[in-house]
């Protein structure tokens, strides 16, 4: 067999390996219910329940942060994150958690939050300006 063909086969084999590894290693998006059923790590998308308490008290533990999140199916769950409270967390619009269930709590290893983008933030800003005007 020609050297070129052997090399070609190697390249194709690696390419297939890359695709399979991506497929097998990729996580899935799910809900808290899925997380509870499977018990494996996955990504949960949802939003912060702003009415319930956010716990981050560095005077007690600088690495414990907990909050309540509602997933896309409307199920609410307590989330615990080992670390400090991400900056600007209260303003987040959408949260993506990576982690798994432990009892009735979801233990997140990673939090990715989407803050309001410039374009949806605009309305909030306008009301702020009005409030300032009234104060003057």
């Amino acid at each position: 067999m020609k050297k070129g063909s052997i090399f070609g086969i190697i390249v194709i084999a690696i390419a297939i390996a890359v695709i399979i590894s991506t497929y097998s290693k990729s996580s899935t998006y799910g809900s808290f219910t899925d997380a509870k059923q499977t018990g494996t790590p996955l990504d949960v998308v949802g939003h912060l329940n702003k009415k319930k308490e956010l716990t981050y008290d560095p005077t007690k533990d600088a690495n414990y942060f907990s909050f309540f999140m509602t997933d896309k199916q409307g199920k609410e769950c307590k989330v615990v994150f080992i670390g400090s409270k991400p900056q600007d967390f209260e303003r987040s619009e959408q949260i993506v958690l990576t982690g798994q269930m432990a009892g009735n709590e979801f233990h997140a290893s990673k939090i990715l939050m989407k803050c309001p983008s410039k374009y949806t933030q605009d309305k909030i800003e306008v009301t702020e300006y009005k409030a300032k005007q009234a104060a003057i």
Binding site: Y23, S27, V45, D61, V96, V126
Partner: protein
């Protein structure tokens, strides 16, 4: 309904919009004219050619015009324009106005168009016989870029997004009904504090020059296929590709440096989709440079070279689609949001992909593909193999980064790998091992054919040497503790450095032609050495396993706890350092926290002491934005980053000079102590000693009458090794007793001289302590990054290598 709005400055916006339309029109004119100039068979007819030039020059002027109008608007704070309102504020220093250009999508498209205009003019000046065909492609790209800025509605769909759109056109709000709405809009949103960094002034222009310049090799390849000048396009394409990889590489590393300095990605590289998007085309183009050289020297690998050049530019467009269309959604924090340009961007990618594919298919039979097989012991064969692996490495990045795209196409719900960084690191290290080994031993090979015994001896001698040096480095730095692939990569990278150093030594003997490649490869090797050590062995210094047990289940997971709590003036041991948060200093809008580091020797003496000043902006719009401070050493960097602090927002003015007299509520219940002179009071954080009573204590604005008495209690407070003085006062005025409390802010205590007890010869001192949680504190994270300097110096060396290569290739290439 037309309202006559007051105070708007519509002229610069209208002028800017006119320039945008003109830029689009002239680019289109230039493209069409150059097309006809190319297909025109009559060499004496220069009319299309001249029209093409005029069109492109007109476009260049318009693009500059757009930039000037936008600058004028931002500089004058015309917040009636959405762009100025969204990306700048009155407090923004002038040099950051430039940064606000590229905070928004429109500004960065403009930047791209600007660089492409500059490059187009260089081509008009230099390309000679290639001008017509090459400029047709550059013009087409310029037309599509300009169309992104148009922002007009055609048949109910908006095309592009204009930077000159007005605030009231974007936002629906009752206030925009009022003609004097501008008097409500006092200030803009401001620039994200993360971008207020000098690196953010120069990183985007460099990166976009890199992106923009990739159109040039693409245009040459297309022109070569189109005009059937199959072999000639390669030489100019090598020079321009080298330029592109040099600039884009520099731009990427600048971004990496910014990320490292500001710690926004927790290090210098985090495989965020935005970072991947910039490196994807770099990898294919660096592969392309190698196979172009292979083709030039041996006639082999023509198809691979052409394919890689073509795909690189398509990938630039694909990368800009990824980051700008909003498709990355949940996978990246930094991508732009969708401006309604999703399909516009898709079309842009498809047009150029179609051009490349069509030409390759039409011309497939005519391509000068070598039928002869490469020699195994030839440099060209292994360079070709290396380029293929660069392509594979790129493919892995594309496949994984594009997960949201696959989801959109196939309707799946896959998410990126849970441990993304590790996943990429291991894969990309594997590819890097092969690439660096090849970059090493192919230096011992010659083009065409090499004598095999000599080659084996040299390469094995160097390999043994590399393994020895590598083993030492791996042992000293502790890389063996992490994944084995890092150790292998370390040896491979060292091998590449050593092999190329040998070539460089020969250069000094006179073979100067080879200097560029040797230097670039040494740089690349060093860069990897630094990256492997820094990424593989960086440690969090502030591991903290104290903390209240919120939940036993939670503590079982035994995760490292990376944040440390520091109360003001209370030293905490962190690894070898004794660290203390000692003071604050405020330079609005930055709040600096002074953290004192003492390196303690075994004998308990201070070996080294320094102060780091991490800062945070408590920005009311962006939240707490922290910037770390770093202690740089030759072989490692120590980072200090404030993850949390109880500071006020920057737009809350401190109440100056007005002290709340009754703030007892903010303290724990008071504790009275009866003491005589010389007695000691113990409290939570230390000792208070009553040194003396001062019968001459006076208060500034109170005059004492004959029978009035004023006594001060001279107190010395010793807390955590520091001594403070305080003198609360007791006063009898007009027969009534008063007392004047004194606070020691640093310690969070208040002291009252509450009674005199003449019978016992004692006085009563009341101590108020702030509760623990009210005391000033910071939550700190400290990270140790070893050997990062290799990474930066490797980059600089690599860029020098690219420069040398460009000079060499330019000498070879006389434009025809």
């Amino acid at each position: 309904m037309d309202t006559d709005f007051k105070g708007e400055h519509l002229f610069p916006g209208h002028l800017g919009q006119l320039f945008i339309i003109l830029a689009f029109g002239s680019a289109l004119l230039s493209t069409i004219s150059y097309y006809f100039a190319t297909v025109n068979k009559n060499p004496l007819d220069k009319s299309w050619h001249n029209l093409g030039r005029i069109g492109f020059w007109l476009n260049s002027i318009s693009v500059i015009g757009i930039g000037c109008c936008l600058f004028f608007i931002i500089y004058n704070h015309y917040f009636e324009y959405h762009y100025a309102w969204a990306h700048s504020s009155k407090a923004l220093p002038v040099y950051y106005i430039i940064s606000s250009y590229w905070e928004g999508q429109e500004g960065s498209f403009w930047l791209w168009a600007f660089w492409q205009a500059v490059l187009g003019n260089v081509l008009i000046w230099r390309a000679r016989s290639w001008e017509n065909s090459v400029m047709t492609i550059v013009g087409l790209s310029q037309t599509l870029l300009s169309s992104m800025l148009i922002g007009v509605n055609i048949f109910g769909t908006r095309f592009g997004s204009s930077p000159f759109i007005l605030l009231r056109e974007v936002i629906d709000g009752p206030i925009f009904k009022s003609p004097n709405y501008l008097s409500f809009v006092k200030d803009g949103n401001g620039l994200n504090p993360l971008l207020q960094n000098y690196w953010m002034v120069i990183h985007p222009p460099t990166l976009f020059l890199g992106f923009a310049s990739m159109v040039v090799p693409f245009a040459y390849a297309v022109a070569g296929l189109w005009q059937k000048r199959y072999k000639e396009w390669v030489q100019p394409a090598i020079s321009y590709s080298l330029f592109s990889v040099m600039i884009l590489g520099t731009g990427i590393i600048m971004g990496s440096f910014w990320a490292y300095e500001s710690l926004n990605f927790n290090g210098f590289w985090a495989w965020d989709p935005v970072e991947n998007a910039s490196i994807i085309p770099w990898l294919t183009l660096i592969g392309a440079v190698h196979v172009l050289i292979v083709y030039k020297n041996s006639g082999h690998a023509y198809f691979t070279a052409t394919f890689l050049v073509l795909i690189s530019f398509v990938l630039v467009l694909y990368a800009s689609f990824l980051t700008r269309s909003g498709i990355l959604g949940e996978t990246s924090i930094h991508a732009f949001t969708d401006l309604g340009m999703f399909w516009h961007l898709v079309v842009d990618v498809l047009i150029f992909l179609a051009i490349a594919a069509t030409l390759l298919i039409i011309r497939r039979k005519e391509l000068p593909i070598s039928k002869k097989e490469e020699e195994t012991y030839s440099r060209e064969f292994w360079m070709f193999v290396g380029a293929c692996f660069l392509g594979l490495s790129c493919m892995q990045l594309v496949v994984v980064t594009s997960i949201p795209v696959w989801n959109a196409i196939f309707g799946t719900h896959a998410a990126p790998p849970t441990d993304k960084i590790n996943f990429y690191n291991v894969f990309q290290s594997g590819f890097a091992v092969i690439v660096t080994l090849l970059a090493g031993f192919s230096q011992f090979l010659k083009y065409k054919k090499t004598e095999s015994t000599r080659f084996f001896i040299t390469s094995i001698v160097y390999l043994v040497f590399a393994v020895l040096v590598g083993a030492l480095v791996i042992y000293v730095t502790g890389i063996y503790k992490s994944h084995w692939i890092y150790a292998v990569l370390m040896i491979a990278a060292i091998y590449s450095v050593l092999a190329n150093a040998k070539i460089l030594a020969e250069v000094l003997k006179g073979k100067t032609k080879l200097a560029g490649s040797a230097v670039a490869h040494i740089g690349f090797g060093l860069l990897l050495v630094g990256a492997v050590i820094a990424a593989g062995t960086s440690t969090v210094a502030s591991i903290n396993n104290t903390g209240e047990n919120f939940n036993p289940e939670f503590n079982k997971t035994n995760n490292p706890r990376e944040n440390l709590m520091l109360y003001k003036n209370e030293p905490v041991q962190m690894g070898d350092y004794l660290i203390t948060y000692i003071a604050d200093s405020i330079a609005m809008p930055n709040h600096y926290f002074k953290v004192d580091y003492k390196l303690m020797g075994k004998d308990g003496k201070v070996k080294e002491e320094f102060i780091l000043k991490p800062n945070a902006q408590a920005n009311s719009k962006f939240g707490l934005v922290a910037t770390p401070d770093t202690r740089h050493y030759l072989f490692h960097d120590l980072y200090t980053h404030v993850s949390m602090a109880n500071i006020k927002l920057d737009d809350v003015k401190p109440d100056e000079g007005h002290e709340d007299t009754n703030d007892d509520k903010s303290f724990d219940p008071p504790v009275p102590h009866e003491v005589a002179i010389g007695d000691t009071i113990r409290y939570r954080d230390g000792l208070i000693v009553l040194k003396a009573l001062n019968a001459n204590a006076r208060l500034e604005n109170i005059t004492l009458e004959k029978n009035d008495v004023s006594v001060g209690a001279k107190l010395e407070i010793i807390s955590h090794g520091k001594t403070y003085q305080s003198e609360p006062i007791y006063m009898i005025k007009g027969g009534n007793g008063f007392d004047f409390a004194r606070k020691v802010e640093d310690l969070g205590i208040k002291l009252r001289f509450s009674k005199i007890l003449p019978k016992d010869n004692k006085v009563e001192i009341t101590v108020y302590q702030q509760p623990e949680s009210k005391k000033p504190y910071i939550v700190l994270k400290a990270i140790n990054f070893p050997c990062i300097n290799f990474f930066w110096s490797g980059t600089i060396i690599m860029v020098i290598g690219f420069l040398l290569s460009i000079f060499r290739r330019n000498k070879e290439f006389k434009a025809v």
